[in-house]
Symmetry: C2
Subunit: 328 residues, 2 copies
DNA sequence: ATATATTATGTAACCGGTAACACATTTTGT
DNA sequence: ACAAAATGTGTTACCGGTTACATAATATAT
């Protein structure tokens, strides 16, 4: 492989000058620049990012830690992160933590051995102090880790309130809230928002807790609907859960949205594919991912961060699992 | 950060001995080993993979190139690849090629600058010669690039034949085949398999070509169904397309599977979530991804590759979009 | 007992960059 | 015109490992 020395030799200059040219720092005359360009072209020289990393103690690798890329929520974020990273010359390492503390810690350790430039963390199982003690720049995505950690997130409480209120103004009176796993801040906030909406009307909705796993969730929902046939509105803490509810509704022969209305949360692409398409509280996932990446890269490159917490506003996306006519 | 010199100093040995100990090559006495272990523990030493990469001209990074991780087919593969890579101590860089030659080439170039250990390629837009000329180990996943490139793939033709035959024996006589984009080997093979099944019966099915994009596909399907109301069986080249068909069927009020039967291809998790759940020709995606990763790592680590082409057998997964009773 | 093989360890060059420092040359200010 | 500032370039140590080579100490063979 061609190295910087070869280029220096051909250009009849020292490696330092070539390095200066490559990094656009220090002085390089026009003539030298041209000779270097020529040499680079001639030799098809590609600087070794490994050598650069070793020397600078800084790589162009960004770690993206998600619980599980199979969860349809994350590919959309990942894609946005990757796009942004790409355009800034960074590379994304995909890490599935599987919500295992050990695995996540081990990943962080491994990454730090490669001088990883920064971390985007879309998990929240570790103690905030762990993230705060990491020396590389970090951005929390979709999860608030700590006020000191730059964050891109949605106002989950508000979104849930909007979603629940839409169900209520839309004629659903007996609500079921399918909340995500206990202890997950995101799910907690969504429950809070939901309850705010129902409390205001003095309602006592049913709340069930379930994992995000489709089958497990579907079973729990089926049982709940069997016991409480009066339920005419479901607010789900995620689109996957909402789709599970829709699935069960079909199975039980409940017509959606005539007999049962469903509102999800997230705005994943899948929501448009099911029938009827899912009404949901949408987050602009691409925007979130892109914002997180941009934020991280700005941190990495030493730019002053003005805004450390970016709250993306959720937006109700009305599709087919709610009754439109009643909305007025 | 603690480096190998510090360890050597504490253990009262030279860096060479410590390095030998770390790599388990060369001679290191028991006593020295113990002293080194002690020192490593004491200092919490973690070897720098960057320095090692520079020296060895080999990293522990694997590049995974997919068209778009948002396509629900790829997260399942990616997850398997990542799992395997993880267990062998490798790290996965995610690359979305977007089916753009330039982007893919640029990725390959960037990765080679980091001494990437190997590449798993799930795209096929580049000329085979490009992949063959790459000096790092490579494995083709889901796409056959060239006989000389180790490959993990499904027998698409056979799978499509099985899927089409199932429709035919199941009472569907007027078939529509929704084939994927032209020029995509995978889609071509599936069409071939489909046609083999229909030709055998002397049928003349309708074949439409469409992109994998959900909305575009849905529109094309809607038009086709409108013009050809007789269609009672659809074979789709991918589950996403099948789900688009299902979506349109619902929209048009066609009962599935009573009036219209649908068979997809791929076996993505999504297929179980729609209603009715999708009958499909399933590939064991996890197995494919894991096999590709294993194959690659074996290549990287210099093991003899006995089997360079691994054909995973597709399997018909009968669910709700086909009529069961007629199967006999 | 001596030659030879095996085991154990250290020195130092190397991987391919970066950047501090030194030095030379040109430009600018007064 | 002369000092000071700006510009241009080279030498070399360093980042943190690996490994070829040299050397020393044991173990084994004859």
């Amino acid at each position: 492989m061609v190295n910087i020395k070869d280029v220096a030799k051909v250009a009849n200059l020292s490696v330092a000058t070539v390095s200066r040219y490559l990094n656009q720092n220090g002085y390089v005359s026009k003539k030298s620049s041209e000779r270097i360009e020529q040499a680079i072209l001639e030799l098809d020289y590609k600087p070794s990012s490994v050598a650069r990393s070793l020397s600078k103690k800084q790589s162009n690798i960004i770690g993206l830690i998600v619980p599980d890329i199979k969860n349809p929520y994350f590919p959309e974020l990942a894609r946005a992160v990757e796009d942004m990273a790409w355009s800034y010359g960074y590379t994304v390492v995909l890490c599935n933590s599987d919500d295992q503390v050990e695995k996540e810690l081990s990943y962080i350790e491994r990454l730090s051995q490669t001088y990883v430039a920064g971390l985007i963390v879309a998990t929240s199982l570790l103690d905030p102090s762990v993230y705060m003690s990491i020396s590389t720049p970090i951005v929390a995505l979709d999860r608030i880790i700590d006020v000191t950690v730059p964050t891109v997130a949605t106002d989950n409480e508000k979104g849930a309130r909007i979603g629940a209120e839409y169900l209520l103004t839309n004629g659903a009176g007996n609500l079921l809230c399918i909340r995500g796993p206990q202890g997950l801040k995101t799910a907690d906030d969504r429950l809070t928002g939901f309850l705010k909406a129902t409390d205001k009307r003095g309602l006592e909705p049913i709340v069930i807790t379930t994992s995000f796993d489709f089958k497990v969730a579907a079973e729990a929902i089926e049982q709940t609907l069997a016991v409480n046939p009066k339920i005419d509105g479901i607010f789900a803490s995620s689109d996957t859960l909402a789709i599970a509810a829709l699935h069960i509704a079909h199975k039980l022969g409940k017509r959606v949205p005539e007999e049962l209305q469903i509102v999800g949360f997230d705005g994943i692409a899948l929501g448009e594919m099911v029938s009827p398409p899912l009404t949901t509280v949408g987050q602009d996932l691409y925007k979130m991912g892109a914002a997180a990446a941009t934020m991280l890269i700005e941190q990495i490159e030493g730019k002053e961060i003005i805004q450390t917490v970016l709250n993306i506003n959720p937006q109700l996306i009305v599709r087919g699992t709610t009754r439109k006519e009643a909305a007025k």
